[in-house]
């Protein structure tokens, strides 16, 4: 049986297609003429009652001639995009487009835009997703859900593009111009094709040429202003010593010489002793102890609370940027499709690599939270402390925190919530400063009010 919700969804889908067709094909003036046709069509249904039918006839004929005039548009034009390596959510991204005219004649009055690939949200996605903007919508919009569906669609698309006017591209010449877009979500923006359009003689209707040009642009997560966190945990012994921690530099502390053992790196061979003794001798270094923080992202959500998860990702991204590479290591731990563990700092990897990873992390709707706990426990011996960015403060998460506390691992817990709530620090009762609930709408303000020196 088709439910009312599904019926509405199907209607919205049709409505969206019609509206997209209209928005793509008509210029602003064309849309106004279309509005006149609809209005005069309604008022002019009785030709005796008013003269609106005459306005209908005028606007209809203008649009008809306009439509016929737009049928012929042939042009050999080639477009090339020059995309930057990255963009960041909500920050303008500029890129350059070059239009090349391969024809023997000039082309003028052209319009250019890039089409971004977007999948229309499925009914299940539409039903299950909670749109944070719903709080600010009126009852009718919330109940019907069309604005929410459009918001989902915009989010899937990632950014809006608009027409750029190109006055004239001379024959066998090219024209370069800049386009600016503002990404509204992290992840890859997928450019599917570029579109060149030309209006008809009346400037009402657009005919266009599509060129398939698939390219991707990675959008990094939004970040907040946070200080460097220095947890009071011990420095830990790092297996493999400094070689594993730092592949360049001369900060090694020499201890003694010993015989070569299989598996020793070649760079440890002491060549002079080798020459003297005729068998390989290697240099032995002092064991390395230094601070290595674990940054844990909770990816487990029960409902599709997009905003909450995005803010958690932004928070983790902000902490990644706050790491001082030369002093410590930062391990990012989260569960995506599989368990993920990345290390940054002291030449292991750059924080920009962490941002790239965070740009693509997706939430998990199932409840196998134990996987994350196992992943952390596996890496715990090497970690000095943990920064946990959680999406809930339920029993499972509290148990996990208490276990870490019992193991004398210093932790800071950030719980990103949908709205402001008073939460009991539970196992962190002894260190209430290290338990920081954050409302998704108000992240920066909450971070600004945290007394970081007490942590």
């Amino acid at each position: 049986m088709v439910t009312t919700g599904r019926l509405l969804y199907l209607n919205f889908r049709i409505l969206h297609r019609i509206s997209r067709w209209v928005r793509e094909r008509f210029s602003a003036a064309g849309m106004l003429i279309l509005g006149c046709i609809v209005a005069s069509g309604i008022f002019g249904i009785d030709t005796r009652a008013s003269l609106a039918y005459q306005i209908f006839a005028i606007t209809f004929s203008l649009l008809l001639i306009s439509l016929l005039g737009s049928l012929v548009f042939r042009a050999k034009l080639k477009s090339t995009r020059k995309l930057p390596e990255y963009g960041t959510v909500y920050l303008p991204v500029k890129y350059t487009v070059v239009i090349e005219n391969l024809d023997n004649k000039n082309h003028s009055d052209l319009l250019y835009t890039d089409i971004l690939k977007s999948t229309f949200p499925s009914f299940e996605e539409f039903k299950s997703t909670h749109d944070p903007a719903d709080k600010k919508r009126n009852w009718f919009d919330r109940k019907i859900g069309y604005p929410k569906l459009m918001s989902l669609l915009r989010r899937n698309r990632g950014a809006s593009t608009s027409w750029i006017s190109i006055d004239n591209v001379p024959a066998h010449d090219e024209k370069e111009f800049n386009i600016e877009i503002i990404p509204t979500r992290r992840g890859y923006l997928q450019f599917s094709h570029s579109r060149l359009a030309r209006p008809d003689p009346f400037g009402l209707f657009l005919s266009f040429i599509n060129q398939k040009k698939q390219e991707k642009l990675l959008i990094l997560p939004q970040t907040y202003r946070v200080p460097h966190i220095n947890l009071m945990g011990q420095r830990k012994y790092q297996h493999g010593g400094i070689n594993q921690a730092s592949l360049v530099g001369d900060s090694q502390e020499f201890m003694s010489l010993r015989d070569y053992q299989p598996g020793d790196p070649l760079r440890s061979i002491h060549w002079r002793s080798y020459a003297k003794r005729g068998e390989p001798i290697v240099k032995e270094f002092k064991d390395e102890f230094f601070v290595r923080h674990g940054l844990v992202l909770d990816t487990f959500i029960e409902t599709n609370t997009y905003n909450q998860f995005e803010e958690a990702v932004s928070l983790v991204a902000s902490f990644s940027l706050s790491v001082k590479d030369q002093d410590s290591l930062l391990d990012l731990l989260f569960i995506g499709n599989t368990s993920h563990h990345f290390t940054a700092g002291r030449s292991f990897g750059q924080t920009s690599n962490l941002l790239e990873i965070l740009a693509c992390v997706t939430p998990r709707l199932n409840n196998d939270f134990g996987h994350l706990e196992k992943l952390i426990e596996k890496n715990l011996p090497e970690l000095s402390g943990l920064i946990l960015v959680l999406l809930d403060w339920d029993e499972k998460r509290q148990d996990m925190a208490s276990r870490f506390i019992a193991m004398n691992v210093p932790i800071i817990v950030f719980v990103v919530m949908d709205k402001v709530m008073d939460l009991d620090p539970g196992p962190l009762n002894q260190h209430p400063d290290r338990f920081i609930p954050i409302a998704a709408d108000d992240v920066q303000e909450t971070l600004d009010n945290v007394n970081w020196s007490n942590l």
Partner: protein, 671 residues
Amino acid sequence: MDTSLQKLPPAPPFTIGAALILWAWQTEFLIFAIPMIILIELSHWTSWRWTVNNKEFNLISDFSGVGFFIVVVYIFSTVGSRGIFVILSVMPFILFLLLIIQLYSEQGKINLSSLFVSLRKLDPKTSPQADSRIDISLAYLALCIVSASSGNNRTDWFFILSFCLFAVILWHFRPRRFKFGAWLCLIILSFGTAYATQEGLRDIQRAMESSIIGLFDQFMWRYRDPDRATTAIGSIGRLKRSDRIVIRVKADDELNTPLYLREASYHQYNYGVWNNQSPAYSLIDPGVDGSWILDSGDSKGTINISTYMPREIGVIPVPHSANRIKDIAALEINVNQYGAVRMEIREGWINYNSDYEGNMLGSAPGEDDLQVKPSYQADFDRLARELDLYDKTPNEAIAEITRHFTENFTYSLDQRRSYPRGKFLQNFLFNTKTGHCEYFATSTVLLLRTLGIPARYAVGYVVDEYSTMEGSYVARSRDAHSWALAYVNGDWQIVDTTPSVWAPYEDANASVFEPFMDLYSWLSYRYALFQASDELEQEESNYDLLYFLIPLFVILIWRLFFKDRINRKKVAGILKMIRNKQGEDSSFYALIDEFNRAGYARRNGETLASWMKRINETGEFPELSDALKLHYRYRFDPGLRGKKVKKELALLVKTIITRGITPITAQTDKY
């Protein structure tokens, strides 16, 4: 992708003025249009601008919205559904304030969220449309043209002028690659197509009307035709009538019995339709006291009746023995030989007094009033014999018929089964014995005629409900009734054989919202009367709605000028400071536009200084570096010499531009 109305260009100068002239000519609002045109067109010639913030834009938009709502309610309550064209005709008034504020605001555009309340709370960062701006001048122009079409002043000039206006707009926004000749050819082609289309639309309507108008007239329009009444006899399903109050009656004394108000009488019946074969209407001359005399007899009493006229001409409900209509400024009153009173006045609620006497209105009976179609004769003869009516006097027969119907028949608005044409009444009389008033009245008339008693079929309303809220008797749409008139002892008398349960039965079907609807109906009725009394004192005017807007206008002015007066000074000072700092009016931007147009694209991340340096690599623009310095100075540190710096900069920019910037295509290699 976004090609939406946000990119709507502004209306070209004088076009809104021209559209308003067209509108004023059609709707006869010339006196209002002149100041409107002056104010609108003056905005192109004056640089005076108003600082309007988003909050104030919202306020004005809300004001226009509330104004529109009031106008809609007012016009629909006074004019009814045809008021839609009145609403259309006043639309330029409603949006005028919004347009003026836009034209004279510093921003020059209205925030989209001012027009759509739902956008106001959204975060512009995640919903960019919440912060986008729109120019409504072109939309206002289109509205004026559509609005002008409500005037219905039928000359070809309207078509020609409207087309010319559209052509001017299109010329202004045409793509530049087309030559004038080609463009003109297409416009002429469009003109021809449009003219043929509008003629075609008229012809299509004419053709459709001729085929279905009869159908509509018969089944959908419930307007009372004094010469023809189509009954629901033979219809299947449930009759549903509304609770809407259609008549209000004030009588000097309390009504002891239901009051029958007749609208029309008919004498010929055939297959569910009553009609009058050759109705003759006689024109009534008003007396010196303004009353309309229907019969010269002495009046015995007066009742006051209010009714709703759906058209300018229609029958009015009057008591059967009405002899005088008075206290009404009717244009014309006619009466036909069957007692239907037809009045020409205006649409809407009307109020009049009706005197009544002893004798019933209507001509003496004729042969037609005894006619029974052969197809019905056998049935009614059978019934008359079963009831032994042939042996009774007329009064006895009427009493017996009434007893028979009221005791043996039931009232129902439902008809479940269909019967062959012509057998509806037979089945009613002998099988189902159930039906609504039209069955009873029709059967009674035909039975009386079978007995040789002249009879007619009457329709109207039965009034017996007293409304304490209104202090008068009311009749609802569901109180419409039909009954028989029998000519006995030299006069017509009412014979209502419908079981008396009909009125409570109809009441039981009343809506639960009836009290609220009654309150609304009474308020709109009172307002209509107030307006009507006003009209007696002055010429008919549609501008009363402006009174509704006065308090709103006062609130708006107060909010704009006084409420935030203290803060405004501070805010204005800060804004002025910010604007000056920004140096947004630097003429250097014009130079940047020129370079862009010439194809000198600025690279990603390139500073203005390095871009200018790259442009001037060949030394083609020696003034460029000085101009940039002045621009920076004017932009970031104008100090006290701001005006002078601006002037010097403008001079340098002018020099560069007038010397000419060679397009990049000619010097690609260099660039």
